[in-house]
Amino acid sequence: MSGPYRPSMPAAWYLRTQPYRVFMLRELTSVFIAGYLVFLIVLLVRLGQGYEQYAAMMESLRSPLAVIAHGLALAAAVFHSITWFNLTPQVMPIRIGEEQVPGAVVAIGAGYLPWLIVSGVILWGVMR
């Protein structure tokens, strides 16, 4: 009499269902964000080194490669933010007495609205 049958986990399990694929994409955004943060640190280094180094970096930021890289980073960052805020009500359910505050309210109040405000402040600051 044989024992139980134990199927093995497929190596590319994350490609098998749509939810798994979306999950993997969501997690991979962290690679792009980490890459952007490294770039940001380099930018700060150049800023501290002086006018010439900073200007040279700004010049390179106008190259097609920089534009594409920023485009990818933006897509990843936005996807990351949207998935994060949509999950916030699940992580932080707010209850008033017996009633639960609707998920959309939490997502907007603790997520999308602060995002809008912070983004506005940053962009206004940089425009000056």
């Binding site: 501290g48 960052a77 933010s81």
Partner: protein, 99 residues
């Protein structure tokens, strides 16, 4: 959380606004930006953003790599990921202090 709130706008700032919508090549604009970053509250904010975001990314990248199959040396993986985040944080801190 911090990364989700701040990074998209920063990407637009450094990818679109700074190179294309302002005149970064002028000494005046450089001085303005440099002065702004020397302002202590902004220096502290930048440090916090970089520090928290780097560690958040390191944590998720560590798990992604394990999910993709790199499960042979979990301790080493953790050290590499968080170590890289720590290195980035230290560099950012040094740069910001000396700005």
């Amino acid at each position: 959380m911090v990364a989700a709130l701040v990074v998209p706008a920063l990407v637009v700032a450094t990818g679109l606004v700074l190179p294309w919508l302002t005149e970064p090549q002028t000494q005046a604009s450089y001085d303005k930006l440099h002065a702004a970053v020397t302002w202590w509250p902004l220096r502290a904010a930048l440090f916090v953003v970089v520090f928290l975001s780097l560690f958040h990314c390191a944590h998720r990248i560590r798990h992604v790599l394990a999910d993709l199959g790199l499960k042979g040396a979990p301790r080493l993986l953790a050290v590499l990921c968080y170590g890289a985040a720590l290195a980035g944080t230290v560099v950012a801190g040094m740069v910001l202090v000396r700005m």
